[in-house]
C-alpha cells in the first residue's frame, strides 16, 4: 500500500506543487453531496477517536514507566508531555499552512496532502510501537 502510494501519488503530487494554482473543476464544492459530507464526518470521527485513545494510552504508559528522578526535577514528565503536545499542535498547524500554500484552492489535493501526512505519521508511529513495545507484553 505504502509502495503504491509512493510510486503513484508522489509524482503527481510533486508535479502539482509546482503547477500554477487554479480552481480544479472537480473540487468538492462542485460535487458536494450528502454522502461526501457523511464520509468526511465519519472518517474524521474515526481518526479523532483513534488519536484520542492513542494519547490516553501513551499517557498511561508514561505514568507507568516514568522514573521518580524525572518527577522530582523541575522539568518533570508533565512539562515534557505538554511540550510534546504543543509542539505537535504547532506542527499540525504548520502542515495545514504548507498544504494550503502548496495547493491553494484545489481541495482534492489539499485533502490528499492531509491524508498522506496522516498516513506517513501513523505508519511511523505504528512501526515504532511494534518495534519498541514488545517488552510490555508478559
Amino acid at each position: 500500500m505504502l509502495a503504491t502510494v509512493l510510486l503513484v501519488y508522489f509524482p503527481n503530487g510533486c508535479a502539482l506543487m509546482f503547477k500554477a494554482a487554479s480552481h480544479n473543476p472537480m473540487d468538492w464544492c462542485n460535487s458536494a453531496t450528502l454522502i461526501s459530507v457523511i464520509f468526511l464526518i465519519s472518517g474524521s470521527s474515526i481518526i479523532f477517536v483513534g488519536c484520542s485513545v492513542i494519547q490516553n494510552a501513551a499517557l498511561s504508559i508514561i505514568s507507568k514507566t516514568s522514573t521518580s528522578k524525572l518527577n522530582r526535577n523541575i522539568i518533570n514528565i508533565g512539562v515534557l508531555k505538554n511540550a510534546a503536545s504543543l509542539i505537535g499542535k504547532l506542527f499540525g498547524n504548520l502542515l495545514l499552512v504548507l498544504a494550503w500554500l502548496s495547493y491553494r484552492l484545489t481541495s482534492v489535493d489539499y485533502m490528499n496532502f492531509i491524508a498522506i501526512s496522516f498516513f506517513i505519521m501513523m505508519t511511523l508511529g505504528y512501526h515504532r510501537v511494534k518495534k519498541n513495545y514488545f517488552f510490555l507484553s508478559n
Partner: protein
C-alpha cells in the same frame, strides 16, 4: 475554551485562509512560550530557595499574571478584529495563547490535594478542559449569526456578531481576574523555605542509603510508624531509583548548580531530556503524543475549513458538527481507561492506530482516483 473559540468563525472573519491559520497557530506559539516562562520562573524560585507553598502565594501570583494577560489579549484581539488590524490580532492571539496554564494547574493540584485524591482531581481537571473546548466551539458557532451591533465612538470599538465571542471570553477572564485578586487579598502570608519542604522527600528517597532508618531496604514505614514490606511494584520502583542514583554517582552528575540562572534553567531541561532518553519507552510515548496531537489539531482546524469553504455549509452547522466531534474525547478517554484496567496499552495503541490508518488509507485512493477522473475529464 479561549484557544478554540475562534475556530468555527475564523474562516469567515478573515477570508484569507493562511491568515486564519496564522491566527490559530499564533496562540499555540504563545502557549509554548508560556510553558517555557512558567518553567523558567519555577526554576528561579527553586534556585532562590524560596518556595511559598502553604499560602500558595506563588501560584496565586502566577494566576494573577495569567488572568491579566488573558484580559489584555482578548481586549486586544476583539479591538483589532473590529478595526481590521491584522498584526494586532496576531499579538492578541499570542497573548491568549500565553494563558495556557495546564502545567501550573497540575502543580497546584499535586501540592494542594491529598495524595489519595490527586488522580481524581487530575481527571476532573482534564474533564473540565475538554468541556471548555466543547463550550468554546459551541459558543463560537452559536453566537456567530446573532444580529448584534454596538458602536462605541469614544474608543473606536465596534461589537458585531463576528467579534462578540472575543468580548464574551473577555468578560469571563475579567471574572477570573477579580476572583484571583480577591483570593490574593484573603490569602495568609506565610513563607516556607524550599529546602525545608524538600527535606522529607529527599530523606525518603535516599532511605536505602541511611542504615538506621529501616531494617530492610524493602521496608517502609506506614502512617502509624510501623514498618511493613514493600509491594512488588514498589520494590521494582525502588530498585530502578537506586540504579539511577548509582549511574549518577558513576557519571558524576549532581543536581544542577550553576552561577547563571539561565544556565540553571537549561541544565534542568538537559537533565530531564537525559533521564527521558535512558529508556526507549518515554521518547516513544512522547512521539505518540506528538503525532496524535498534530493529527487532532489538523482535524479540528481543517474540519470547519472543509465544511465551510468546500461543502458550502453554514458556519453554525459546521461549528456544531465540530463540537459534536470534540465530545468524542470523553467516551474515547473512558474507553482507554477501562481498557487499560484489564489489558495492555500496547494492544490498545495497535487497534487505534490500525483503525485510524484504515480510514486514512481509504481516503487516499478515493481522492487519488477523483483527481485522475478530474484531470481526464477536463484536460
Amino acid at each position: 475554551m479561549n484557544m478554540y473559540i475562534i475556530v468555527p468563525t475564523v474562516f469567515r472573519i478573515e477570508q484569507d485562509v493562511v491568515t486564519s491559520l496564522t491566527l490559530i497557530g499564533s496562540s499555540i506559539v504563545g502557549a509554548i512560550f508560556s510553558l517555557l516562562i512558567q518553567t523558567y520562573i519555577t526554576s528561579l524560585v527553586r534556585n532562590d530557595d524560596v518556595l511559598v507553598m502553604d499560602g500558595s502565594i506563588y501560584f496565586t501570583k502566577v494566576f494573577l499574571c495569567i488572568s491579566t494577560i488573558g484580559v489584555l489579549g482578548n481586549l486586544l484581539f476583539s479591538y483589532a478584529t473590529s478595526t481590521n488590524r491584522y498584526l494586532l490580532t496576531i499579538i492578541g492571539r499570542f497573548f491568549i495563547g500565553m494563558t495556557f496554564c495546564e502545567t501550573i494547574t497540575l502543580a497546584i493540584i499535586s501540592s494542594a490535594v491529598k495524595i489519595t485524591h490527586i488522580a481524581a482531581a487530575a481527571v476532573y481537571f482534564k474533564l473540565s478542559s475538554v468541556i471548555g473546548l466543547i463550550l468554546g466551539l459551541l459558543i463560537g458557532s452559536l453566537v456567530h449569526n446573532i444580529p448584534f451591533t454596538v458602536i462605541v465612538h469614544g474608543i473606536d470599538l465596534t461589537i458585531t456578531c463576528e467579534t462578540i465571542h472575543g468580548f464574551i471570553v473577555l468578560g469571563l477572564w475579567t471574572l477570573i481576574l477579580g476572583s484571583t485578586i480577591r483570593l490574593c487579598l484573603l490569602m495568609p502570608k506565610r513563607t516556607t523555605k524550599y529546602s525545608e519542604i524538600n527535606t522529607k522527600p529527599v530523606n525518603a528517597a535516599t532511605n536505602i542509603d541511611s542504615p538506621g532508618s529501616s531494617d530492610s531496604p524493602y521496608q517502609e514505614e506506614d502512617n502509624e510508624g510501623r514498618s511493613q514490606e514493600l509491594t512488588p511494584f514498589r520494590k521494582l520502583h525502588k530498585l530502578t531509583e537506586d540504579s539511577e542514583n548509582l549511574i549518577d554517582r558513576i557519571d558524576g552528575h549532581h543536581s544542577p548548580q550553576s552561577s547563571s540562572k539561565f544556565k540553571t534553567f537549561l541544565s534542568y531541561w538537559n537533565r530531564a531530556l537525559k533521564i527521558s532518553l535512558r529508556s526507549a519507552s518515554l521518547p516513544i510515548s512522547f512521539l505518540l503524543i506528538f503525532i496524535s496531537s498534530a493529527i487532532t489539531e489538523m482535524i479540528l482546524t481543517s474540519f470547519c475549513l472543509t465544511m465551510i469553504l468546500h461543502f458550502g455549509l453554514s458556519t453554525r452547522l459546521s461549528g456544531l458538527c465540530l463540537a459534536a466531534l470534540s465530545t468524542l474525547i470523553i467516551p474515547s478517554s473512558a474507553l482507554a481507561y477501562s481498557w487499560t484496567e484489564f489489558s495492555e496499552e500496547r494492544l490498545l495503541i495497535k487497534v487505534s492506530a490500525i483503525s485510524a490508518m484504515k480510514d486514512m488509507a481509504s481516503r487516499i485512493p478515493s481522492n487519488y482516483f477523483r483527481f485522475n477522473a478530474s484531470t481526464a475529464l477536463f484536460q
